[in-house]
């Protein structure tokens, strides 16, 4: 039986279910000092003075530093931005502790070190900072106006302009010549990523040896190691980074954070372990946010609704500083603003702006949910304009007429590996009972019921498998996109996999074991996966952008192939046969057609270990490594159908059904695939209905807690009904695409389309996110009674 494609239960679970799993805050070392961060209460202010004297007198306090105290001897470079998207992008230096100016509420202005968690918290309260307020850029509107400046020394808030705009006149002409045209502005509100585990860090130095071990709740231990070296000047080979069990990331643990560099620098300086765990309030206000864009979308079509042109202009909120991939995040969607549709004329421009708010960066989907939202909202508006059903307008515009295609060149310069959209749509509509829903909707409208039904569609495409290194180089990204894997057979025949991609909930240990077991014909229980420690796994580029399987998983498959080839050579030597005659069947190596020669592949481990009788020139041991650089991205797609009830009396929206039919190519473990979809869907719907990181006009975050920032619970969402189609990728030998972000990419648009659809008979055409009861009720009131929306 094939292991790949089976619903194998996860290896990770017993530890995590029993409390054996060790997250960052669970790891305690003797003599550790706790950092406490003093954070700016001002969105933009000159730091007139920092008085640490009272804090230093508090019990247990060992040291305290202002930004000025740390300007020399602690680091050699500011915190890194790895993605200068244009050569002239503005990127003001961002040091772990602000020196002269605080630029957002939450910016670190001083740090205290104390012997306990409690003493550090107390000491923070005793640091006195004097601020001289400066004008605050509290919104994108403020930023674009460019009157108040987030970084006065730059003279402007605009950090960069980036475009795919080869034929602007052609796009204009196509729009001008369109029979139908939709123009809309969509707001991608700021979101707080909200992994359940807050971030944390523990730096353990060796005062005599000089090396240092950094534990961090990070998605990117390998990148962190490089960047710690580049930032602190500690030789890279002296740095070991360990990501212990990591409690979710969603992009917010894909960064190089001030606290990480501070912990290393202070641990090195003091010769003592230094640690910190963020509070939820810090996580919400100071760790990166997601989204934060205004999207101006124009879409034209002919009389039948066939798209003639798409033009998109985005204003993107960088926040106060460029974090690791802040500037590039909106551009990850740039290639997808035509969605799953053929667009003869296409233009995309993005301008990035600084504001005095928490820096933005990757958040599940990073750029692609925004793109998917814009095109899928616009398609619904176009359908209304043309006067056809939302499903129909999609059918009419699918790439290759909805028929299967391979290697299709999109208007933004990428090549879609494969796609087959119509059957995927049909399956979703069928599962949702689309026609029945439409009939019920008509009935309720006719009856004038207070609870109206809305059906929202989204057919998305996304980019997985980040990424071909050459493509990243063309985009100005400061690293490659390969992944590394080592597979070794131990003397006892058990197999150890070393993964360069690092899990934080995705089930890598299970999936990687399945790939190995499937190829070798052995029990997945005989495979162990090592990861997330740069000493065990020195080469890797970590986990983000739905890249683990499509890059890392492929690397593992290729390394297993190499290992099997070596086993075959060894077996051929033992059996005195030609290697070309050796086959691997059900875990046994044998001469083809001679079952009596069958030798368990797992016995090769001991033979290679003893090395008593190896073929001429063969090295002892079975240890094969591959670094795989994918030739192309992978482009999963899918159709989501969201069904909502809107209470017209209160504006309350209730999601009553959700169907997700995703196509992520070959699936390794459908159990895990479905789990990824469930979680992604709820995260995307959360943007549509609940979540919004709100600031006031002075740049104060108004809801940095789970009490006010509404991460939904089980009580707010229904079951998610899933199914799939399978269109294998041409980008890699496993035919896999990726699914980590798909749910999020399809769901926000589906949910808002459903809310708008419920109210379309009142003439409602759009609804800002999140569709709060107040906003929905106001919109209804405006449509019915001419009130203010």
């Amino acid at each position: 039986m094939s292991v790949i494609g089976s619903r194998l239960l996860r290896k990770e679970d017993p530890k995590l279910l029993t409390g054996e799993g060790k997250y960052i805050d669970d790891i305690q070392v003797a003599g550790q000092l706790w950092m406490g961060m003093v954070r700016s209460t001002q969105a933009h202010a000159a730091i007139a003075s920092v008085d640490l004297s009272a804090a230093l007198e508090q019990p247990g306090v060992v040291a305290a530093y202002s930004g000025k105290d740390l300007t020399e001897g602690y680091w050699i470079a500011p915190l890194p931005c790895a993605w200068p998207v244009t050569p002239d992008m503005l990127n003001p230096p961002h040091y772990p502790v602000a020196v002269d100016e605080a630029r957002y509420v939450g910016d670190i202005v001083a740090v205290v070190l104390a012997e306990s968690r409690y003493e550090a918290a107390d000491a923070v309260e005793h640091v006195v900072v004097e601020y001289e307020p400066l004008p605050v850029v509290a919104s994108l509107t403020d930023a674009v106006a460019d009157e108040k400046l987030a970084h006065p020394e730059l003279g402007t808030n605009k950090a960069y302009t980036w475009a795919i705009d080869e034929n602007p006149d052609g796009v204009q002409a196509a729009l001008d010549g369109s029979a139908h045209k939709v123009e809309a502005t969509y707001i991608q509100q700021r979101l707080i990523p909200s992994a359940m585990e807050p971030r944390g860090v523990l730096a353990v130095p060796s005062p005599h040896g000089g090396d240092i071990t950094l534990y961090s709740a990070t998605q990117v231990p390998h990148i962190l190691r490089v960047m710690v070296a580049a930032t602190t000047g500690i030789p890279e080979q002296m740095i070991r980074v360990i990501a212990p069990a990591v409690g979710g990331g969603f992009g917010a643990k894909l960064n190089i954070n001030a606290d990480e560099i501070l912990a290393v620098a202070l641990a090195q300086k003091l010769g003592k372990p230094v640690r910190w765990t963020e509070t939820r309030t810090e996580a919400a206000g100071s760790t990166t946010h997601g989204r934060g864009q205004e999207q101006h979308v124009e879409i034209g079509s002919d009389a039948d609704g066939k798209i003639t042109a798409i033009r998109v202009k985005i204003d993107a909120d960088m926040g106060a500083y460029m974090q690791l991939i802040t500037p590039g995040t909106p551009l990850l969607g740039s290639f997808l603003y035509h969605g799953v549709y053929e667009a003869p004329a296409f233009s995309f421009t993005c301008e990035g702006f600084f504001t005095n708010k928490t820096p933005t960066d990757a958040y599940r989907g990073a750029g692609r949910p925004e793109a998917s939202y814009a095109i899928e909202r616009a398609m619904d508006m176009l359908a209304a304009e043309v006067g056809i059903d939302p499903a129909e307008i999609r059918r009419r515009n699918y790439i290759n007429g909805g028929e299967k295609f391979e290697n299709w060149d999109n208007p933004a310069g990428l090549t879609f590996d494969s796609g087959h959209y119509t059957p995927n749509l049909d399956l979703a509509l069928d599962l949702a009972k689309y026609d029945e829903l439409r009939a019920e909707q008509a009935r309720r409208r006719e009856a004038g019921e207070s609870k109206q039904l809305g059906i929202g569609l989204c057919t998305y495409v996304e980019i997985c498998g980040l990424a071909p290194s050459r493509a990243l180089g063309d985009l100005g990204y400061g690293a490659g996109g390969w992944e590394h894997a080592t597979v070794r057979m131990l003397p006892t025949g058990k197999v150890e996999v070393v993964s360069g991609s690092t899990p934080h909930g995705q089930g890598h240990e299970t999936s990687w074991s399945m790939i190995v077991a499937d190829k070798m014909g052995i029990d997945p229980a005989d495979v162990t996966v090592l990861h997330s420690d740069t000493a065990l796994s020195p080469l890797g580029l970590d986990t983000y952008g739905s890249r683990s399987l499509a890059v890392g998983g492929v690397a593992i498959a290729m390394a297993v192939d190499k290992l099997i080839d070596k086993c075959k050579a060894l077996a051929a030597h033992q059996l005195e046969a030609s290697v070309d005659d050796i086959v691997l069947e059900d875990g046994n190596l044998q001469v083809a057609g001679s079952p009596d020669t069958a030798t368990p592949i797992q016995t090769m481990g001991f033979a290679a270990f003893t090395a008593h009788d190896l073929p001429e020139g063969m090295e002892p041991n079975l240890n094969e490594a591959v670094t795989y650089d994918p030739p192309n991205f992978a482009f999963p797609f899918g159709t989501h159908v969201c069904v909502v009830e809107v209470d017209e009396d209160t504006g309350e929206v209730e999601m009553i059904d959700y169907v997700a039919v995703d196509d992520c190519g070959q699936q390794i473990n459908p159990l895990i695939v479905e789990g990824q979809v469930h979680g992604g869907v709820v995260q995307g719907v959360a943007q549509a209905l609940w979540e919004d990181a709100v600031y006031d006009a002075d740049g104060n975050p108004l809801n940095p807690s789970f009490m006010d920032y509404l991460v939904p619970s089980a009580a707010e969402v229904p079951n998610i009904r899933t199914d799939s189609t399978t269109t294998t990728s041409t980008s890699n030998p496993l035919g896999v695409k990726g699914v980590g972000e798909a749910g999020t990419i399809g769901s926000a648009a589906a949910a808002v389309n459903a809310v708008v659809d419920a109210l379309s008979h009142h003439g409602v055409r759009d609804m800002a996110m999140p569709a709060t009861p107040q906003r929905v009720w106001r919109t209804i009131d405006a449509a019915k009674n001419g009130g203010q929306a």
Binding site: D122, E125, V694, L702, A715, Q774
Partner: protein
């Protein structure tokens, strides 16, 4: 998030708690279930120097049907209210409203007396007791006094309780006459954006989160008493209120919700 340091003493009895309050004055706080106080202390929005733990006064945990009313010890937990057979018979509204507070873990710890003394205008149980026309029994150094629920709440998180008084008992009239409670929120675990309690066939109508204190919807009650229809009475739900504006709702929308939910509650309570 860690509370500032404080001294702590377990009260052995209500008398002991009151003596301790007298001794430590304004800087002391009573701790019952702690589910309002401890979060405020973690944010250092409350920094008492003396915390007096009344959570072990088990003699104040009871639900008893008495002459025409149900007497509930102040330390009775929400979970006990929502599972009470006595309330099921004598005051089903209070039982139901208790089941809507926070989440199950919160209800296992939170107490009726604690939530009333906290006087949060967004809390469910104060509004329920208000609609029911309940009576609160407070004990102080000079004995006990009875306070009508509609005289208890004086301002945002403020009540008529003196610094050296504690609630010991809550009494709600027995009765199963038409009642309903509407809680409108965006997540099940959250406080009500607006809530409405209707008790005794519309004789008591209360509003949650429509001002700085839990409110009686007096305009609605009076209209109903004067023979108005539920719809006409409900239209008056926001009369005389000054609802807050926050991230979930502005004052105007809260007014709309109050009118809508009062009508729903009255209808569900059988008031036409």
């Amino acid at each position: 998030m860690i509370p500032a340091a404080f001294d702590y003493q377990v009260a052995e009895s209500a008398d002991h708690a009151i003596a301790l309050l007298g001794e430590h004055g304004d800087e002391s706080k009573l701790l019952a279930g702690g589910h309002s106080l401890v979060p405020m202390m973690k944010f250092r929005l409350a920094t008492p120097t003396m915390v007096i733990d009344v959570g072990r006064l088990d003699d104040l945990r009871y639900i008893r049907a008495e002459n025409g009313h149900v007497a509930i010890g102040a330390l009775t937990r929400h979970h006990e209210l929502e599972n009470s057979d006595v309330l099921a018979d004598a005051c089903p509204m209070l039982k139901h409203v208790a089941s809507l507070v926070g989440d199950p873990s919160v209800r296992h710890r939170g107490t009726l007396g604690g939530t009333l003394a906290h006087s949060d205008p967004a809390s469910d149980l104060p509004a329920a007791v208000l609609a029911l026309g309940g009576t609160l029994v407070a004990q102080g150094p000079s004995g006990t006094r009875e306070i009508a629920a509609n005289e208890f709440f004086t301002g945002y998180f403020e009540s008529v309780l003196a610094p050296d008084e504690m609630l010991t008992e809550i009494r709600v009239p027995s009765g199963t006459g038409g009642w309903n409670y509407q809680k409108f929120n965006r997540r099940a675990q959250d406080w009500a954006i607006v809530g409405v309690g209707v008790a005794d066939g519309g004789k008591g109508v209360s509003l949650v989160n429509m001002g700085s204190v839990p409110l009686r919807a007096t305009a609605v009650e009076e209209a109903l008493a004067g023979g108005a229809s539920a719809a006409d009475a409900a239209a008056l739900a926001a009369e005389g209120t000054e609802p807050p504006t926050d991230l979930n709702a502005d004052a105007d929308y809260r007014g709309h919700l109050a009118r809508t939910l009062v009508l729903r509650a009255l209808t569900e309570a059988g008031v036409s």
